[in-house]
């Protein structure tokens, strides 16, 4: 049973990958309240959306468009791209998106970031001031700029999802928020495969939500292979697979990740295929974190020695899952002392209580 912890480390690292470079620590994302929000609230409560539109530099066409009370234009896409403009700091992109698109209150977002409401208010105000003073446009980027801008939007949504997913209970509602944002984005950009792929990816991770934590307080991490598959939401998994199956036009990073997530839900898991997809993803992104995940798949397909060689060559000493993955591989190779040291290094960097608890269990077993 302990053999499979690598798989979970790998799954966690896979989810974390797009948020690499985001400065906020996972611990800073705990949320105290879990409440449902509908993105459609934006339609009812358009105050902030309108404000942002006015703050932002509108294109002349939009500015001169006659106002028809019966036909409120759907400006959610413009709003999303404004909130996720690369000229705003990543933490401001996330906060603005949650505030203006998802309709969360400043207080709620503040508690998600574990900062005071006053600090969050300043962060939002600073971002809105920059939108106004630097004339960040309220528009959907033109075709040739769309891919790079869309990548920022997708990363923001996936970051919101991951924070909700890695700290369920406290931040569970952020995962639901991200799923809603993902649905809206996929619907608003029907010609783009990557928003749909991101939605499918989130749906598949979210489908395992009830199975991945156990224990009296729900804080014990259950590894992928040990999860009760009856607790998985198979309807949601089916929906996700229906979304990605017809996509043949491109193989972007989210589609590849969704394909990997789909393979991981199969039994038995085709690790060689997973490793091949990770190789493709690493080629596409150049990310060492992706190579780390690929190494885990190689460990399953070819054994821990081959994987450890790859892992040791990666420059990821600041990344907690590099240490936990190394530790697992060392343990499987019977190098207990080294494994124990690596588990301690991982524990010192672990972001959530379930992860810390899991690592402590492993240390005790070494």
């Amino acid at each position: 049973m302990a053999e499979e912890s690598v798989a979970e480390a790998f799954a966690v690292a896979a989810r974390r990958w797009p948020s690499e470079g985001m400065p906020t620590s996972p611990a800073a994302w705990l949320v105290t309240t879990a409440r449902h929000r509908a993105i459609d609230r934006l339609r009812r409560d358009r105050v902030l959306a309108d404000k942002l539109r006015l703050l932002a530099a509108t294109t002349p066409e939009v500015a001169e468009a006659p106002v028809d009370d019966n036909e409120i234009p759907d400006e959610r896409l413009e709003l999303i791209f404004t909130c996720c403009h690369p000229a705003l700091a990543p933490e401001a992109q996330v906060a603005l998106t949650l505030r203006a698109v998802a309709g969360l209150s400043t207080e709620e977002i503040a508690s998600s970031f574990l900062v005071s409401a006053e600090t969050m208010k300043r962060r939002l105000t600073r971002a809105k001031t920059k939108i106004r003073d630097a004339a960040i446009p309220f528009s959907v980027p033109a075709g040739d700029r769309l891919p790079e801008r869309l990548a920022v939007v997708l990363a923001v949504i996936y970051l919101i999802f991951n924070q909700g997913y890695s700290a369920p209970g406290q931040a569970g509602h952020l995962a639901a928020e991200a799923l809603r944002l993902g649905r809206v984005l996929a619907a608003l950009l029907p010609g783009q495969p990557e928003p749909r792929a991101l939605l499918a990816l989130m749906l598949m991770h979210d489908a395992r939500r009830r199975a991945r934590l156990a224990g009296a307080d729900g804080q014990d991490l259950v590894l992928l292979a040990d999860q009760d598959r009856a607790l998985w939401d198979w309807q949601q998994i089916g929906e996700a697979r229906e979304i990605i199956d017809p996509i043949t036009s491109s193989r972007g990073p989210y589609l590849i990740q969704a394909a990997i997530a789909s393979l991981q839900l199969a039994e038995p898991i085709d690790w060689r295929q997973v490793a091949a997809l990770y190789a493709e993803l690493a080629e596409l992104t150049g990310s060492p974190v992706v190579r780390l995940n690929g190494a885990v798949a190689i460990a399953e397909a070819d054994g821990p020695a081959a994987a450890l060689e790859i892992v040791d060559a990666l420059d990821l000493a600041g990344y907690p899952y590099w240490h936990s993955t190394r530790a697992e591989l060392l343990r499987r190779l019977g190098r207990r002392e080294e494994a124990r040291t690596a588990y301690h290094d991982a524990l010192a960097r672990a972001g959530t209580e379930p992860e810390r608890r899991f690592l402590r269990r492993r240390i005790a077993e070494c």
């Binding site: 932002a56 530099a57 294109t59 002349p60 403009h85 000229a87 003073d133 630097a134 004339a135 960040i136 446009p137 528009s139 980027p141 700029r145």
Partner: protein, 114 residues
Amino acid sequence: MQYALLIYTKPGTYDSLSPAEREALSLEYYALRDEPGMLGGAALQPVTTATTIRLADGRPLVTDGPFADTKEIFGGYYVYEADNLDQATEMAARIPALRLGGTIEVRPIMGKAS
């Protein structure tokens, strides 16, 4: 809205160019200056010509050198009129200094009525 496109260059990159390359580079900068929306700009002499003034005990203290030893040197700027930040960054991306390892900082210029 007017933007300052502030050009920061890596020390030595210009010196390492051949005379022909320098000539071509200058022509590129002049050509950008003639683009619609370009309102002005200036290229600065090398940083070796810089003089810094501070107040010391209330009196101006004049010293040799730039204000701070940084990895990149402020080399010049354009003033560009654009509808929004995206247009400004698009123009900034065309400045040749980028190809030589330099960086462009885009700053909106304070208006009388903004």
